[in-house]
């Protein structure tokens, strides 16, 4: 793997490494990096893709980071009644209704981005609400859906194969591939979920809002 890049393991375990990765990403987008091709953050490590790892580390050491702000986002969700709920209930012994009630009371925070364009990993699920990922991914044909998988809540902004359980639809466009920043969520942003009816969903959807305009 040495020819592909370098893995950074954070010394400070209390700090989410994705915060640092987000700051490196900012430098990448501002074209301040010569030897770093990519930065990928997960909750335990940062991967720096580079064909010249030593130079990339030197470049990292010289970086000065700006502080990032935290935003609270209201996210409306139409909870579905699909087959995935049976598995969730079987794994957690919590009914769909109770699961949703608990979910709406949780403090949910963006843990990291990545996986697919516009995908968000959020933490906050209690241990008893966590469901192991599917053994074999299946096709998810919808964009802007809320899902659970392992310790995370996730948002799929585009259709893709999914090893997670899809639990609801979000009537907002989350991914924006026209601007510099593809997704408005930042690491440690807060999500406040709100359960909406089918009628509410259609009303919001028909307004063609995105996450930013809905929260404005």
């Amino acid at each position: 793997m040495e020819d592909q890049g370098v893995i950074l393991t954070p010394i400070d375990q209390k700090r989410n490494p994705a915060i640092t990765a987000q700051q490196i990403q900012q430098q990448l987008q501002e074209k301040k990096c010569k030897y770093i091709d990519e930065v990928i953050a997960t909750s335990e490590e940062i991967f720096i893709a580079s064909s010249r790892s030593k130079k990339a580390i030197k470049e990292l050491r010289a970086m000065r980071f700006k502080k990032t702000s935290i935003t609270t986002w209201n996210v409306p969700v139409l909870f579905n009644e699909c087959e995935d709920w049976k598995k969730i209930s079987a794994e957690t012994s919590i009914t769909r209704e109770d699961f949703i009630t608990e979910l709406l009371q949780l403090k949910i925070m963006v843990q990291m981005l990545g996986f697919l364009p516009g995908f968000v990993y959020a933490e906050g699920l209690t241990k008893k609400m966590q469901v192991p990922r599917k053994e074999i991914p299946v096709a998810n044909r919808k964009a802007n859906v809320l899902a659970v998988g392992g310790p995370y809540l996730g948002v799929y902004s585009i259709p893709s194969p999914s090893g997670w359980y899809i639990i609801g639809d979000i009537p907002l466009q989350i991914l924006n591939l026209d601007d510099g920043i593809p997704i408005p969520f930042k690491i440690e942003d807060r999500l406040v979920l709100k359960s909406i009816s089918k009628k509410d969903y259609e009303q919001i959807f028909n307004k063609k809002l995105n996450l930013v305009s809905y929260n404005a």
């Binding site: 020819d3 987000q22 990519e38 981005l113 990545g114 996986f115 697919l116 192991p132």
Partner: protein, 288 residues
């Protein structure tokens, strides 16, 4: 302005380039050439920049017409190219006359064929690249694979008489590939029997630019409940809880929750991406 018209698109023909770097943090994959080596040779042969935009075809190629004289090169899988009803050679520069028709059929050897055309392609850059990423409908020709009647415009400054015929000396018979070298992945130790990884496999026909599912022995893996999503890049081999191996490819995800038990190095990934679904191969230990 050269106009290249798609008469038949083939089954997954797209515009690609050297890829889109710098956005994996947001889950935007590198995309680009599946067989970088073949694509770069095609571009070199026509005199374009190595990472320039070209057409990539999968399994069954398309049919194209050309509105002006131009210089092309075809590399990668042998899709039996025919120029104006005459079989044409691969791995060399070819002069194409105005009005000519270039046809490709099914791949006899390999999977991905590259068609480079000399000139500056009129394809907008999205996040610094013209590579098509169909899952998000971004890049390339309107974010999708090419379809019949599509027209690609290419600024084609060339002097036909002065263009030499260049022949690339090293041809690869992809059907002869029987081994793919891999390195151990970060979670190799999760395997109950590591030697199982070094077995014979085939690529599932349901594979795509995002990932290749390997058909072969079911791998015994010890999963950890606390395992969290980790970074991925093209070439990483994940093992699902059911013991299936999935190789992350150019349009693949940047993070994933399955253990990464192996890694196909960059140079081997070019060869791997030319393996046909019916073709058996062994995963072998990287020697250096």
């Amino acid at each position: 302005m050269l106009k290249v018209k798609v008469i038949k698109p083939g089954i997954f023909t797209s515009v690609q380039d050297g890829g889109r770097n710098g956005y994996a943090f947001y889950g935007i994959p590198v995309s680009g050439f599946m067989d970088r080596e073949s694509a770069e040779i095609a571009n070199i042969l026509v005199g374009n920049k190595k990472t320039a935009t070209l057409i990539e075809m999968h399994h069954i190629g398309g049919t194209f017409t050309f509105s002006e004289d131009c210089v092309i090169a075809i590399t990668g899988a042998n899709m039996q190219p025919v120029l104006n009803l005459v079989t044409c050679k691969m791995y060399q520069t070819l002069l194409v006359k105005k009005g000519a028709t270039l046809q490709f059929k099914n791949a006899l050897s390999g999977v991905r064929t590259y068609l480079a055309i000399k000139g500056k392609w009129d394809i907008p850059r999205v996040y610094g690249s013209t590579a098509t990423y169909t899952y998000a409908g971004m890049g390339g020709f309107r974010g999708r694979t090419l379809q019949a009647k599509d027209i690609i415009n290419i600024k084609n400054k060339m002097e036909v008489k002065k263009t030499p015929t260049v022949v690339w000396p090293d041809l690869i018979n992809y059907l002869m590939i029987s081994e793919i070298e891999i390195a151990k992945g970060p979670e190799f130790s999760f395997l109950k029997n590591g030697e199982q990884l070094f077995s014979s496999f085939k690529i599932s026909p349901s594979s795509d630019r995002m990932g290749a599912i390997l058909e072969g022995p079911i791998i015994d893996i010890q999963l950890q409940d606390s395992f969290r999503s980790k970074f991925l890049f093209p070439g990483m081999i994940q093992c699902t809880p059911s013991g299936k191996l999935i190789v992350v490819l150019q349009d693949g995800q940047s993070t994933g929750g399955y253990p990464r038990v192996g890694v196909i190095p960059k140079h081997e990934l070019n060869r791997f991406n030319q393996l046909q679904p019916s073709q058996s191969f062994e995963l072998i230990k990287k020697t250096s």
